[in-house]
């Protein structure tokens, strides 16, 4: 079978080492005890479920943020990156960050005048999904669930 290099390249972009690493060793994986906000996100396409636990202190800072659930490499890595990135941010900052990230991943790659992807190199790794329209929701699920937790919604889905 002939190898197609450009095709393989986008597959490598999707499954970068960093993504595989986070998928295998997710950060902030687990429950948070009492007094935390909880929201569950569902991707009905694949049945994946993710739970986000969130604790905000009096200064409106994200004091603790964890997740639980099952999912593909992309959704687990994305949740791992999400929790580590948003930790210690102000509530409003984190909210905006999540919104920007979701809209960035939903923009097509070629779109002109696109916002540069987030400052962080690590978060950059999520951009590999742009070549895989059916996988964008895997990457946005945890971010969307985070926003829903901020807004005190108990449940959200990628199909809205």
């Amino acid at each position: 079978m002939k190898k197609n290099n450009s095709e393989n390249k986008s597959l490598k972009e999707l499954y970068r080492q960093l993504i595989i690493h986070h998928a295998k060793n997710p950060l902030n994986f687990g429950k948070l005890s009492n007094n935390s906000l909880l929201s569950e996100g569902i991707n009905p396409l694949c049945g994946d479920k993710i739970r986000i636990y969130l604790k905000i202190n009096e200064a409106d800072t994200i004091e603790n943020l964890t997740f639980e659930g099952t999912g593909c490499a992309i959704s687990i890595a994305s949740a791992s990156l999400m929790t580590s990135t948003l930790l210690n941010m102000k509530k409003y900052q984190a909210n905006q960050y999540a919104l920007d990230l979701i809209s960035n991943l939903n923009e097509s790659k070629s779109q002109e005048g696109q916002q540069p992807m987030m400052d962080s190199q690590e978060i950059h790794a999520l951009e590999g999904v742009k070549d895989f329209p059916s996988r964008i929701k895997c990457a946005t699920l945890s971010w969307q669930t985070f926003i829903s937790a901020l807004n005190n919604n108990k449940i959200t889905t990628t199909e809205k």
């Binding site: 002939k2 499954y15 595989i20 694949c46 049945g47 479920k49 099952t70």
Partner: protein, 418 residues
């Protein structure tokens, strides 16, 4: 090599089915720069050119409304539609065409039985019996009418091989069960249900049986009279035909007593505001203008299957399934989900520590199409404690090279996650 035919005008033997692959335009294309390997026929099969041509011929030469007009086209459209019904009747060996109801698909067929046959008979003392193996479309319609009437939905268990535990299902049948509704073949696992025993037992209690035949119809010969099922549901798009058309087979005696499911044109003899007289079978259940081109396509699909020979198809797919199972078992980390003794055309599996979605994406990248996820059978996944599986399914047009490419594709998956 040319095809050779036997005296029934069927392809002489199963080794020749390979030659049919060229009939399927969707199969013969490149996906992501690789020749397509299509292993998702359980979700929807591809159409041979003969079916596409018949739909196009019908639309470009014969189309009008059915049963309505005096003019030539209306007559031709009616003829196409009714010939297809006759064709389906013979294909499953039903007694007559009154037993063949056109629907939009398996889901529609099941909902028809739920609402027209079952619902009027239900009250809180009554039960509907299904199995743990069912597709959502053979679960949710029953849940809906049970909610509306207070009846209970009871569920027969499965074992670790993914087979219905027949004896336990039979033990659950009593005279308060209004209907047993079970799949012929599980779409998630490919397990074949022991229908003969179940249908016999149900009939001893005078309980009718609906069989969800969506996955069986294109893989084995169905003789509905020998099977003695009371209702049998299937979809055109899983048997080389188009989407939006399906069949409900029902025993005439049962259909006669059932009230219409939907009201509209075609299902009436006379409409007055003081009362309406319903049309006879099968039209009583076909309200509104039907999917005529769909029926034309389904008729052509049946011609195609007949010519290929259901026994040839069964033999061909069985060889491929055995190869697929043997080859899968050699792949590191693969666990087969569903190990029924009698299994047809489908194998579900997982790979250790790799989510099925990731398997699906990496295979797709190599031009290989499989299904991943819960396969509309969440209770089955829950039984195995899995969020989902990867599933490869076979049809008439698959060959050994497809299996080899698929297995090689899995090496890439494992390499990326190494």
């Amino acid at each position: 090599m040319n095809l050779s035919f036997n005296e029934k005008n069927q392809i002489a033997d199963n080794s020749q089915l390979e030659l049919l692959r060229k009939d399927f335009p969707t199969i013969n294309q490149e996906i992501n720069k690789y020749p397509l390997v299509y292993l998702d026929s359980a979700a929807s099969s591809q159409m041979p050119q003969q079916v596409i041509d018949e739909i196009s011929r019908y639309q470009s030469q014969d189309h009008s409304n059915v049963h309505r007009g005096i003019h030539t086209l209306s007559h031709r459209a009616t003829e196409v539609y009714e010939t297809s019904r006759q064709n389906i009747c013979e294909f499953i060996n039903a007694k007559n065409t009154n037993e063949i109801i056109f629907t939009s698909g398996t889901t529609d067929s099941i909902n028809l039985v739920a609402n027209s046959y079952c619902k009027p008979k239900l009250d809180p003392s009554k039960k509907i019996l299904i199995s743990h193996l069912e597709h959502h479309s053979n679960i949710v319609p029953w849940q809906l009418i049970c909610e509306q009437t207070g009846a209970s939905l009871i569920v027969a268990p499965i074992d670790n091989n993914g087979e219905i535990i027949t004896e336990q299902l039979i033990d659950m049948i009593d005279s308060n069960v209004v209907l047993v509704a079970i799949s012929h073949i599980s779409n998630a696992l490919g397990s074949v249900t022991s229908l003969n025993k179940i249908i016999d037992a149900a009939h001893q209690h005078e309980v009718p049986v609906l069989v969800d035949g969506a996955q069986a119809i294109s893989h084995m010969k169905i003789d509905i009279q020998a099977l003695n099922a009371d209702f049998y549901a299937f979809s055109g798009h899983k048997m080389l035909g188009p989407t939006g058309i399906g069949i409900l087979y029902g025993k005439e005696r049962l259909l006669e007593d059932m009230p219409p499911y939907q009201g509209g044109g075609d299902m009436i003899l006379e409409v007055k505001f003081t009362g309406t007289v319903y049309n006879d079978l099968p039209y009583k259940f076909e309200a509104g203008t039907p999917n005529i081109s769909g029926a034309a396509g389904l008729g052509a699909a049946i011609d195609y299957l007949n010519q290929a020979g259901m026994h040839n198809i069964e033999a061909h797919e069985n060889i491929l399934l055995n190869k697929m199972i043997a080859d899968l078992q050699k792949v590191d980390g693969v666990e087969l989900i569903g190990k029924a003794e009698n299994q047809v055309a489908v194998q579900s599996f997982t790979i250790k520590d790799i989510h099925s979605h990731d398997i699906g994406t990496i295979l797709d990248h190599q031009g290989i199409a499989i299904r991943t996820g819960h396969h509309c059978a969440m209770p089955v996944m829950e039984f195995f404690g899995l969020p989902g599986t990867a599933r490869a399914s076979l049809s008439i047009y698959n060959n050994e090279e497809d299996i080899d490419r698929f297995i090689k594709g899995l090496d890439k998956v494992i390499e990326i996650f190494a």
